[in-house]
Symmetry: C2
Subunit: 465 residues, 2 copies
């Protein structure tokens, strides 16, 4: 099965197709370089050409032609995925969704959108039209697409209230095109949604999305300082459990990350001060401040409703200090750091991890509602030395009972639960019989007997050089 | 301190004042008769006259005049309180809030209203104007006032999402008039709110209320049947823990209550079938049905989005089967029953109570969010025999570790935590130095040394006959 790239390009030449090496290279890269491990393995990869379809009919055409000529297709939103989700491991066609960026319908509680919408632009349009906003977004709100968020992300700002994308009710409907001789268009709701959400585009291209909405507010950004990180984390947990105080983000960050990496507000934070970053609904500010004043150690460092326009501009927005933006701010100051994604059972486990690693792994937690409870995900900074030590840190976490979603792996399974997702695999059999969609990302498709005792190496990956 | 009722009436005669015995009697009664214990003690009570102020200035005038003449003032919303909250134990003036029923301002996330607004009318106006609705309401939505709900209620429909009225953030601001020689007008937020909320009007009259709002939806009413009550209760708990499925009411009711008391839908319910009553946001219905189909024993008995207009009209609204309306429907079929209000730790405790009492205490639970978790309050039906047995049932509950909010008592303390509320008491000292506001309802004001070993008997209560 040798791809006939030339024939495919020829057949698609009437579309918005780009094969200029510089731009193809730019569109073949995502935030894989976040991970020193992925950087050393994926840096050389590049697709053969980029097609940007204008509508679903053109998506179908691209998939039909590439199917005919055995050309791999890797879909691209904005390429902000940091698990190398959008890296075209075997080259071929990069399917760029940027033109499919329309908000199609807005109703009470839900909206229907195209996958190439930039989250922030789309949300602004929905807010303007209806006073509603999307329930959750990745901290890459300003640049990422909604299709990339659903196919490659997991949750983010808003998850402290609504849980994660995979929770029932957080995606309402997906419209999907398959990669077959005659591509089919399918509509998924309920149990079927899971087939293609967070599947990295390995088994279908999402062409329309129906999402639930929440009321839009002009959220107040607040930074609360604590002398002791665990004191702040406990305060954050109690805040998340205040049923009447509406928040959208609760993010405890351990010293010295805030002082060292949050350059725009550094002079207000002591080097040994930990902070909790919060987004609070404006009408909840009185209750929030009442709650906060009850806690001795809590010091208000910043609140966006009490600063000048200039100070606000200098600070920016709270969510760009949270989730993976914490890491991003760190990388700008110290490019040698990296990070992990951890699921903690409770704060006792966080404390145990802190005792074990100390300053090598400064903590960064994200409040997430899980099965009805306020829980924490961890995105700790890791002071990177060697790949071996990084692997050891991961192993120690796992030995201590923390689940790791390893951001130093490019496959669905290794970045997830290290096991086959039968529903995604079964749908890939139906929807991508030749295995041409984002090849190399689903281990159970290529190597069903893989045991996870080592890092997976996709055999079809284009060699360097 | 003998009240000079005549002088007060005279001085207030230019207001909307009514002293016709029949109407004064009608306005001196609430739902105290719900309780066989209260019925036998309070049935004879009647105030001396009713004044219905048109605005805050008239409230001030009434309080000033009654203060001068030592006349007790008991405030009345709609008189739906079933703890005898609005019963004028010592006679005097009934201050009827019905004219003060304006929605004053609506903003994103909040509204400012007068206390005499009927909850449903007020909410309809807010929904029409802004697409927002109040977070929670008592099941007496159609008849009760917002002032009575805040001064005499605790929570209800919406509490499964937002917790209860006492939780920080569920009341934003209260404006209160004191009963002094020169009544003061005070504005309370934050910690101060608790002084007068759920204080039965014993220490100030609420003249303006600022409440948080949530987005308004056309909630779908659903009845789900279960062969086994505990199976239904566990399903209900899991539903409440689905972070992405937006619900407003989750109410498990044990057989044979649904078949025997829910006459409007009786023919669809088997005698031995328990039900869970749910209100689901329309855009969450697909996720809700996905969740429900996963559970073998769950049978959809009714959903308001799939019936004819006639069937819908026949059924009515789900919330009028829940909270205290469950009891009300029972009382209509069997006037000898009564009920309790219980706080359960978990479903294991519910099971233990069921094992202990069997058919004498059929269960009715209400999902409530407490400290961030889905928990259950109980409003079980009690097959009443004697007061002694009722007291024994209460005692056994307490011995088994369940807190009882005893609806067979007319004082704040006995209907609550059986202890002084220092903040309410302290504010009464300031705001009602003569103790004229709703006298007899705050034990710690009248009898600070009371030990709760027996039923409190207010010495100032007007004798019968
Ligand atoms: C600084 C930073 C912060 C981040 N914060 C978060 C966060 O808070 N939460 C979070 O979940 N992630 C986060 N991420 C990861 C990533 O940004 C998000 O997943 C983001 O929403 C991806 O959107 P994108 O448009 O850039 O997708 P891309 O990176 O372009 O694509 C992501 C995946 O989706 C597939 N895909 C894209 N569009 C489609 C489609 N229409 N149909 C099928 N498959 C498709 C791609 O093939 C790829 O596998 C962060 C990353 C960075 C670098
Ligand atoms: C069938 C039924 C169902 C019920 N369901 C619920 C429920 O779901 N949740 C719940 O919490 N309760 C419930 N209740 C109790 C009661 O209905 C509620 O508390 C209701 O909201 C009271 O409103 P109201 O206007 O009738 O108040 P009233 O009964 O008139 O007054 C209640 C108390 O508030 C005081 N008050 C009233 N207005 C003011 C004011 N402006 N300033 C100061 N004090 C004031 C009164 O003096 C009295 O002490 C129920 C009762 C019944 C009979």
């Amino acid at each position: 099965m040798t791809p006939n790239v030339l024939a495919a390009k020829e057949a698609l030449s009437h579309l918005d197709l780009d094969d200029k090496p510089a731009s193809v290279k730019a569109k073949s890269r995502d935030f894989f370089w976040y991970s020193p491990v992925l950087k050393s393995r994926l840096d050389h990869l590049v697709g053969d050409f980029v097609v940007s379809p204008r509508n679903e009919a053109e998506v179908i055409e691209v998939l039909k032609v590439c199917f005919e000529h055995d050309v791999p297709v890797t879909t691209r939103g904005s390429g902000t995925g940091n698990y190398g989700q959008a890296m075209p491991l075997a080259g071929g066609c990069v399917l760029h969704m940027r033109h499919m960026n329309k908000v199609k319908e807005i109703h009470p509680g839900r909206a229907i959108v195209e996958p190439g919408c930039i989250l922030r632009d789309m949300d602004a349009e929905i807010i303007r039209a209806s006073g509603q906003e999307i329930r959750m977004f990745s901290s890459t709100y300003a640049t990422a697409t909604v299709g990339g968020f659903i196919a490659g992300g997991s949750g983010g700002v808003g998850s402290v209230r609504w849980g994660q994308l995979r929770d029932l009710g957080n995606i309402l409907r997906l419209r999907v095109v398959t990669m077959e001789a005659e591509p089919r268009v399918l509509e998924f709701t309920g149990e079927e949604l899971h087939r293609v959400s967070h599947a990295y585009g390995t088994n279908g291209i999402i062409t329309e999305i129906e999402l639930p909405l929440a009321p839009a507010y002009e959220w107040t950004d607040v930074l609360v300082g604590f002398d002791d990180f665990m004191d702040g984390a406990q305060w954050a947990e109690a805040l998340g459990n205040e049923d009447g105080i509406l928040t959208k983000l609760i993010t405890p960050v351990e010293a010295p990350i805030p002082h060292d990496y949050f350059l725009r507000i550094k002079d207000r934070i002591r080097p040994d001060q930990s902070v909790v970053i919060v987004m609070v609904a404006p009408h909840a500010m009185d209750a929030f401040m009442t709650f906060t004043r009850r806690h001795k150690g809590a010091e208000i460092i910043y609140r966006s409703d009490k600063v000048t326009a200039e100070e606000k501009k200098a600070f920016g927005v709270a969510y760009e200090y949270a989730w993976n933006h914490t890491t991003l701010r760190g990388l700008r100051v110290d490019p040698t750091i990296t990070y992990l994604q951890v699921r903690y059972e409770d704060l006792a486990q966080v404390q145990a991890i802190r005792d074990r690693f100390g300053a090598e792994v400064p903590q960064h937690l994200e409040g997430i509602r899980m099965n009805g409870r306020m829980r924490f995900a961890g995105l700790p900074v890791v002071r990177f030395t060697t790949e071996e030590r990084l692997e050891e840190i991961v192993r120690i976490h796992e030995d201590m009972g923390c689940m790791i979603f390893n951001p130093h792996r490019y496959t669905l399974e290794e970045g997830g639960r290290q096991s086959a997702d039968e529903r995604q695999l079964a749908f890939k059999r139906e929807a991508d019989p030749k295995g041409l969609l984002n090849p190399g990302k689903m281990i159970t498709w290529d190597a069903p007997d893989f045991t996870y005792s080592e890092v997976y190496r996709y055999a079809g990956m284009r060699p360097a050089g």
